[in-house]
């Protein structure tokens, strides 16, 4: 997994609530092997017409947002399906942090496993940042993980919470499976006790 330390760049305002994983990655793209094609998958049916041409009104099809690295969105971002392809789409497009009041739980976990930082900020703060981005096209923002701060277009910083273990993994780009395998003995011990307590689960 790629490490996430600090990120500065163009932030795109996705000014709506309830952008579910079906919109982020329409189901039919789940069968696509991971690769560059996922840059087109992101919000595909919102961005493209049936004939494949771009919908010019959609913000990600406009300059300078094609180069966005941060997205600011409304509440319930990423609710719905467990498809990790939703995260593949966002990352492959070039976005490495999404800021929203809250996230679908599975999407949130999937993001962390892929080095994409989901940042939860209070709804009022998100509204404020959204207004600034809408007022100033192409405005830049910074997301800094070690200090747990977001810097808005106006230069003000906002603190965000992040779970300590997730932070450690992201900052160093640690591999979760390797980390867990260090608990190999604890897992073995647990399995022995568990098999004794609930032998009917051992097939």
């Amino acid at each position: 997994m790629d490490a996430f330390t600090t990120l500065t760049g163009i932030a795109v305002p996705l000014s709506e609530a309830n952008i579910d994983t079906n919109q982020i990655c329409p189901t039919r793209f789940n069968k696509v092997p991971r690769g560059p094609r996922f840059a087109q998958v992101l919000l595909h049916d919102r961005r493209f017409n049936a004939d494949g041409s771009e919908k010019p009104d959609f913000i990600l099809n406009q300059e300078p947002y094609r180069k966005a690295v941060i997205a600011v969105a409304g509440r319930n971002f990423g609710v719905g399906s467990s498809r990790e392809t939703a995260v593949f789409g966002i990352i492959t497009f070039g976005i490495r942090a999404v800021i929203a009041p809250n996230f679908g739980d599975i999407f949130f976990s999937n993001s962390l496993k892929n080095g994409m930082l989901p940042v939860r900020l209070p709804a009022e703060t998100v509204d404020l940042l959204m207004q600034q981005l809408l007022n100033e096209r192409g405005a830049q923002m910074t997301v800094d993980l070690s200090s747990q701060t977001v810097t808005g277009p106006d230069g003000k910083t906002y603190h965000f919470d992040v779970e300590p273990l997730s932070k450690k993994r992201l900052l160093k780009g640690l591999d979760e499976i390797e980390h867990t395998l260090e608990y190999g003995d604890a897992i073995k011990r647990f399995e022995q006790g568990h098999a004794k307590a609930q032998p009917w689960l051992v097939s």
Binding site: N30, D45, N76, V79, S82, V87, N102, I177, F190
Partner: protein, 472 residues
Amino acid sequence: MNAASKTLFDKVWDNHVVAVEEDETLLYVDRCLIHEGSRHTFDTLHERGLTVAHPDKVFAFSDHYIPTDPQARARGVSSVPDPEIRNMIELLTSNTAEYGIAKYGWGDEQQGILHVAGPELGLSQPGIVLVGADSHTSTHGAFGNISFGIGSSETTHVVATQTIWQRRPGTLRITIDGALGFGVTAKDIILAIIAKIGIGGAIGYSIEYSGSAIKRMSMNERMTICNMSIEAGGKAGLVAPDDTTYQFLNGRPFAPKGKAWDEALAYWRTLPSDPGAKFSKEVTIDAGRVVPMVTWGTNPEQSLPITDRVPDPAQEPDVEKRTEFNKALAYMDLKPGMPLTDIAVDRVFIGSCTNSRIDDIRAAAAVAKLGHAVVPAWVVPGSESVKRQAEAEGLDRVFTEAGFEWRGAGCSLCTALNGDQLKPGERCGSTSNRNFQGRQGPGGRTHLMSPAMAAAAALRGHLVDVRELARN
């Protein structure tokens, strides 16, 4: 409160803790369910040369990509026309064979949707931790366990280590008391709950459903409720195990037998939440006040009683909600204030992991019997076992005589992966779980409802209060 009082969730969680680091817990996983869509997990296993820790704790189902057209089914995998879809079905076969994982695939008597066939096999048991590579894994919590959906990276982690890192969610108890009215089903109850708490209402919580209405429900009804926990954002959805649970499980292939059954039963009986156990949040619903529900918008909280009208955004005081309503009505092509029963449908879909079990099929058949479908209407049983049972009861003939199509088991038109999908602009009365934009195919429009309501819509060609049909 007694300090030792624990909720069902607490008991199961505490019983699966392998280690704790910072704010995260390494939880042991008893069972992991996968499907054809799990290709990304196997891709990673291959790339990294990882092994599967316990192949006997992983179970694979062919459901998302398998065709449901009976003729296509008879022709076999090689006849699937789309090479990418065929590839997904074949990959499940080769990948599970490579790692020695049990597979309930094409042609298998137990094939079906993982959340229908899994419980039928007796895999979903009280007290376990079960994960699935699908968000509707919350279904299995109906058996009194912790079950939740995970993405492909977490699935890789689970099959490689038999564990998963989790932050402990809060607990939300939803108490549903009272008797369900005539024509009201478990689907209407869960839609009413989501309408009340919202699609983000349970984010960060594990739900326990309790109350007299839940107590009286069959396992199939409880599964319908738990299935849609994720549509309220819930981590999991649980129901305390009781005699209904044990009767369902007894004799199933993976259920304990003989002495092991007695031991298991003694343990399972200790699991229900202790009296006085504290939940982080409480919600109550009066089941007697719920009437048949339909969704009008583009997410599952946008639902109303069938007796109501399409909402008028101009009447909505909250600006953000007003914008959402306007967008939803534009996508759904509906007029504010029109009676919901004036909404004409082009198609009807009865199926999905929410509503494709035998009770659902029976409920739909009871309505189908009252007339003849005036729009294309599909009935897609959730498993081959449900299909056999329904056929033994003659329900397939009830449907075909009423002009409905009786198909093979799978996810089908719920998620539009196997080629079953709506055309742009088509409107479908559906018993599935998501009315998101494009969920049933690009540009498709979905109205969620119960199986009886969907069958009624097929007979009339528009949304209709099933209670009127059934009374006549």
